[in-house]
């Protein structure tokens, strides 16, 4: 998806042997930006790898998480993620399509909705947590459950997905739209057969960004999906997500740092796995049309 546009610059790279100042600046920026994060990832890797084993992935947490593994937490995390995506994808895609297809870019409604979404992205995660607790857990009676966690997370991730997907949809070349109109295609047909596949890379990118954000959230889930480390048996059960576990082990439980680092490592591997899966899915989608 991020296949950069190098091919077309191969010639210019050879032509301009001298390094120009802008190239130098950009390389410096790239190196500078990579230093601290690489230190961070390196640190997680170094601290976490010592405990990583199949047992860690398949065991239950013991002794408040200091020993044992994280299997129930992986299951909870994936279920929370699944519910979050099940809510975000239809609503998010629908809203993004509405913004890009049914409204002109400068119409007041469009500006209004965009404003609302951007403001929503600035609401602190802890407010989402308290809100989710009051609305999903108490008002709707879902209690501390994976369901309330997933739905609260969906509220939080929605603006990010919509705005990114909208950009991808707007980038569809006008010629495609004109062709569709000329062929008397319905809007639904156009969307399904032309627009979505052509924007599939961008939408997959929006999806990955949203998943990344969702997996990284802690405060929202502490108040909604809860703290329980038992293997959840249904969506109405409370289940701790990996990020909450990492938080608890590093800040609340003395002696939990080792497993916190290993859990962080597992989370990173999970993200890589999801990214690869999403890329493959989007490529298959694009190839089918």
């Amino acid at each position: 998806m991020f296949k950069p546009l190098h091919g077309i610059f191969k010639y210019s790279l050879i032509k301009y042997r001298l390094i120009k100042w802008n190239e130098l600046v950009i390389w410096l920026a790239a190196i500078l930006v990579a230093i601290l994060p690489l230190m961070l990832i390196g640190e997680i890797f170094q601290n976490g790898i010592t405990n990583l084993s199949f047992n860690f992935l398949l065991d239950e947490p013991l002794n408040a998480g200091r020993r044992g593994g994280i299997f129930p937490l992986l299951v909870s995390t994936l279920w929370i993620l699944a519910i979050c995506l099940a809510a975000v994808l239809p609503i998010g895609l629908g809203c993004a399509l509405y913004l890009s297809e049914c409204l002109s870019i400068n119409s007041p409604i469009s500006r209004c909705i965009t404003l609302i979404l951007d403001v929503l992205s600035g609401v602190p995660s802890i407010v989402f947590g308290l809100f989710g607790y009051a609305v999903f857990a108490i008002q709707l009676g879902l209690g501390f459950s994976i369901l309330s966690g997933g739905l609260s997370l969906a509220c939080m991730v929605l603006p990010l997905f919509i705005r990114t997907a909208e950009q991808a949809l707007r980038a569809c070349p006008k010629t495609y739209r004109h062709a569709a109109e000329a062929l008397d295609l319905s809007l639904f047909g156009f969307v399904r057969r032309i627009l979505l596949p052509s924007a599939s890379l961008g939408i997959a990118s929006a999806l990955i960004i949203s998943i990344g954000r969702a997996l990284a959230e802690t405060a929202v889930l502490i108040f909604t999906a809860g703290y329980v480390t038992r293997m959840p048996e249904s969506w109405m059960d409370s289940g701790r997500s990996l990020s909450v576990h990492i938080y608890d082990l590093s800040m609340n439980v003395p002696g939990g740092e080792q497993n916190a680092a290993t859990s962080a490592l597992v989370l990173m591997l999970l993200i890589i796995a999801i990214n690869i899966f999403a890329h493959k899915l989007s490529r298959r989608w694009k190839a089918q049309d």
């Binding site: 077309i8 120009k20 994060p37 049914c102 600035g122 407010v127 950009q167 319905s186 405060a219």
Partner: protein, 279 residues
């Protein structure tokens, strides 16, 4: 284009649902803070100091704290983020770009508590060597910039990828230099997407809780230097909500409301400033 009513209705409904979330949240915040608001009035939140157990509810110092840390982070992360996105799209060899962007995608999913923990155990002691107490505005800005950078890069990259390849190849055929193509063609086309990403991330910066809680020192004061500790509105809520009852709790919800108002003002200003640029 002709369209079925059902389809259009379903699109409208999803848009309405998405937008209504904010109204529910605003309603929620106001409900929770209303009792205290009617008791002490709006101006009470801007005078004196923050000692909620003694009836003092001033939010001014924390407001300044939130603004300074968030804007600092955005100012640092935006140019760097855009440059890195350009790096990945136009300057780096293909394999390196792929690896680099994978690292960025990884970073986007790292929980805020991990960033905070790293800040607390490595960055803050390092800053302490130069200027105790270490936990400071600077630490907050660095950690927050690290957090929002990956998403700035990813949204900018997504925007740049959407630039139709045909434009770039035709520009090259016309003999434009690489920087010329970037500056005069790719960037202008991708700008709306890039800016939208930046606005989203500034929102995120204002709303970030865990990481700033761990590295900014949380002392309620208006900082007079980069090395002084400061407390943001979000850290305030996170720190005290667990143990707050009655008026204290409502005061915390009030700080959430004020933060929301701040976000609305800033985003509205940003949108207004960009009104002309939207193609």
């Amino acid at each position: 284009m002709r369209t079925s009513r059902i389809f259009q209705l379903s699109l409208k409904t999803s848009a309405l649902l998405a937008a209504s979330v904010l109204f529910f949240i605003v309603f929620f915040l106001i409900c929770e803070s209303a009792p205290l608001l009617s008791k002490v009035g709006f101006s009470a939140f801007f005078e004196l100091n923050w000692h909620p157990l003694d009836g003092e509810y001033s939010l001014s110092a924390m407001l300044v704290g939130s603004l300074v840390v968030a804007f600092g982070a955005v100012i640092v992360a935006t140019p760097l983020g855009i440059m890195v996105a350009l790096f990945g799209q136009f300057y780096a060899p293909e394999k390196l770009a792929k690896a680099y962007l994978t690292m960025i995608e990884l970073l986007a999913g790292v929980p805020s508590v991990v960033y905070g923990f790293w800040g607390l155990t490595i960055l803050v002691p390092w800053i302490t060597l130069w200027a105790p107490p270490g936990a400071s505005v600077l630490a907050g800005i660095i950690v927050l910039a690290m957090m929002i950078l990956p998403l700035v890069v990813l949204t900018s990259d997504a925007a740049l990828s959407s630039v139709p390849r045909k434009y770039l190849t035709s520009a090259q055929a016309l003999g434009l230099s690489r920087w010329g193509i970037i500056y005069r063609l790719a960037l202008p086309i991708a700008t709306p997407g890039i800016i939208s990403g930046v606005i989203l991330q500034s929102g995120r910066a204002l709303g970030e809780t865990m990481a700033v809680l761990m590295v900014t020192g949380n002392v309620v004061q208006i900082p007079s230097s980069w090395f002084q500790p400061v407390r943001t509105l979000t850290a305030n809520i996170a720190l005290e909500m667990a143990y707050a009852v009655g008026d204290h709790r409502q005061a915390l919800f009030m700080s959430g409301t004020v933060l929301l108002l701040l976000t609305i003002i800033i985003v509205a200003l940003a949108h207004y400033a960009l009104k002309e640029r939207r193609a």
